[in-house]
């Protein structure tokens, strides 16, 4: 568990997934990928993805928790899926905007 600041980059301990924090609630936030706490720095330690958290992450997708206070961006995809304290994060629907530049 650690406080998450916007811009922080974390790696999965069990797959190739990497995320960047877009928004996070104050205080300590539990964050797992593949059912295992995510890591600051090293990344994949060779463990296994928990079968309950094995839907995978997709490059460029944004993931949010139920109340929307936690939002992550997948910057490298992997086999594990993201969760906070066991609660699975969902893909945030991107609002389709017209091209402006």
């Amino acid at each position: 568990m650690a406080a998450l600041a916007a811009g922080k980059r974390l790696k999965s301990a069990v797959c190739a997934t990497e995320i960047m924090v877009i928004a996070a609630p104050d205080g300590e936030v539990e964050l797992e990928c593949g059912g295992v706490p995510m890591m600051d720095g090293e990344g994949n330690t060779g463990g296994n993805v928990d079968a309950n958290y094995a839907d995978g992450t997709a490059l460029g997708k944004r993931y949010v928790n139920e109340d929307g206070g936690l939002e992550l961006l997948c910057v490298k995809p992997g086999d594990g899926s993201l969760s906070t304290g066991g609660e699975a994060l969902k893909v945030k629907d991107a609002k389709k905007l017209p091209k402006t530049d």
Binding site: K96, T100, D101
Partner: protein
């Protein structure tokens, strides 16, 4: 956060895709090559003691390399306006040295002996980027790092350097662009100058959406039309004067014959109603989007989308019709308020200064600090109002207001009244110091048909209070604009004041 992360993601998504093409120089670069080139330059920058990376050049392949390499190396990227005079450029350089400077070949010799400047020509720089083998350190993910310093085209005093941090630019892109949203065949035609915020935004948006960018270094309507057809352009951004010239270039045609052009967005100044109407006729299958934004807000903050363009253009209701000259509604990450001079939030329909708040809003200038208030609101200095449905209309600058005999009036509404006269093709209304009134209402106009001062005064008087009727009209060949289509109101005011003196 770091804009390099956006490029890294694009490389994961489509490494082989062409990222930038410069047809005039016959050069192109793929996403993987752009990433590698940025790394090579970052490693060279890391071995120097330069504090800034300056770019004094037109659009070319070196522009995106310089932008991303600067962020990789952790130093601000500073694009300079190549239209400035030599003394003006010198004084800006004084403010950013020690700097690495990339510029046009013709200019290089002039900077060889300059203290604090390490100069490289465009071609040497691109060759260096593509041919060296660098091993740069990892880029910083600190969201507070400065990504870009942009000298604003302020019309008074020395230019201010707007500070755009990594968090501002990354927030803007994440909030407005869908990752890899572009199909393989999509291509954007970028003709805005690279020292303009729209030029920076175009690079970042295109990279994140995986779209190929075709660069047009020196805009002309003829070249634009030619390139758009040759390169099967699918999306483009223009400033109003550019669209106006494109429409003129296509005069006589009933259709622009560019079925591939899916979207055409515009911004950077006021779009004349006649130009957008004509453009919509010429490009019937094209989605038009009006984007309003400022340097200090990392570009676009409000958008009038394609559906709103079509609705407004097809409507019989005046309120809906006039939305064609609105700048639309705020982006999802932007809050907007109209405030009067005392700071009170104004209801719909009431004119005041536009204030905005959001992650992409900087509002900070180097050496001057931030003008954002403690609640995060940035005063844009632009004036405007929102209608009952939340559509924003820009109405000049907050300090353009004319105070005549104690009565406040906006030049915009008088200009609109003049422009509705069939003989008037352009109009600027300003307040000129007057002993009798404090300020007198005076207009500079451009006409396309014969018309007299008296006729125009009567025309305005039919539509609005008599206090708003210009007491003097000057007939000019053209009004002064800057190169992005902003009316230089201060110049109009000075010239008129001199004439009347």
């Amino acid at each position: 956060m770091n804009i390099m992360m956006l490029l890294e993601m694009a490389v994961s998504g489509c490494p082989e895709r062409v990222a930038f093409v410069d047809p005039e120089m016959d050069a192109s670069i793929s996403y993987q090559e752009l990433f590698d080139s940025a790394g090579n330059i970052a490693s060279i920058l890391g071995a120097t003691d330069v504090a800034r990376f300056a770019m004094l050049d037109v659009s070319n392949i070196g522009i995106p390399i310089g932008l991303f390499a600067s962020s990789w190396a952790g130093i601000p990227y500073v694009p300079l306006n190549y239209r400035l005079t030599d003394p003006e450029i010198e004084s800006l350089l004084d403010r950013i040295t020690p700097a690495y400077l990339v510029t046009e070949p013709e200019r290089v010799a002039g900077f060889h002996d300059r203290k604090g400047v390490q100069v490289s020509s465009r071609s040497d720089f691109v060759a260096l980027a593509r041919e060296t083998e660098g091993t740069p350190d990892a880029w910083s993910m600190d969201p507070e790092d400065t990504a870009v310093l942009l000298f604003t085209s302020g019309t008074t005093g020395a230019p201010k350097a707007a500070v755009l941090r990594q968090k501002h630019l990354v927030s803007y892109i994440l909030g407005s662009v869908e990752f890899m949203g572009a199909d393989e065949e999509e291509a954007a035609l970028v003709c805005v100058p690279p020292y303009h915020i729209a030029g920076i935004a175009a690079v970042l948006s295109s990279v994140y959406s995986g779209r190929r960018v075709v660069q047009l270094a020196n805009f002309s309507a003829e070249k634009w039309v030619q390139l758009a057809r040759d390169e099967k352009i699918t999306t483009a951004f223009v400033v109003p004067t550019m669209l106006s010239r494109i429409v003129e270039e296509l005069a006589g045609a009933t259709n622009a014959d560019m079925p591939h052009l899916q979207s055409l967005s515009y911004g950077g100044g006021k779009m004349p109603l006649s130009v957008i109407q004509r453009a919509m006729e010429l490009f019937p299958g094209t989605d038009f989007t009006n984007a309003y934004g400022l340097t200090e807000t990392s570009s676009t903050i409000t958008v009038l989308g394609p559906d709103e363009h079509r609705l407004a253009s097809a409507s019989d209701e005046e309120d809906v019709q006039r939305r064609l000259v609105s700048v639309g509604v705020p982006l999802p990450g932007i809050e907007l308020e109209i405030r009067d001079e005392e700071g009170a939030v104004q209801p719909a329909g009431s004119r005041g200064e536009i204030h905005v708040r959001g992650e992409q809003v900087s509002g900070e200038y180097e050496g001057r600090g931030s003008v954002v208030d403690s609640d995060g609101w940035f005063p844009t200095r632009d004036a405007g109002f929102v209608d009952g449905e939340g559509f924003l209309f820009i109405d000049g600058r907050a300090d353009d207001v004319i105070v005549r005999g104690g009565e406040n009036m906006s030049p915009g509404e008088i200009e609109d009244a003049l422009l509705e006269h069939p003989a008037v093709s352009d109009a600027a209304v300003v307040g000129i110091p007057s002993e009798e009134w404090g300020e007198a209402v005076v207009a500079a106009i451009v006409i396309s048909d014969a018309v007299t001062t008296e006729e125009l005064q009567a025309w305005v008087k039919d539509q609005m209070r008599s206090s708003r009727v210009p007491e003097r009209l000057e007939f000019w060949d053209e009004l002064p604009y800057n190169e992005t289509g902003k009316l230089l109101r201060r110049v109009v005011k000075e010239r008129l004041a001199q004439l009347i003196d």
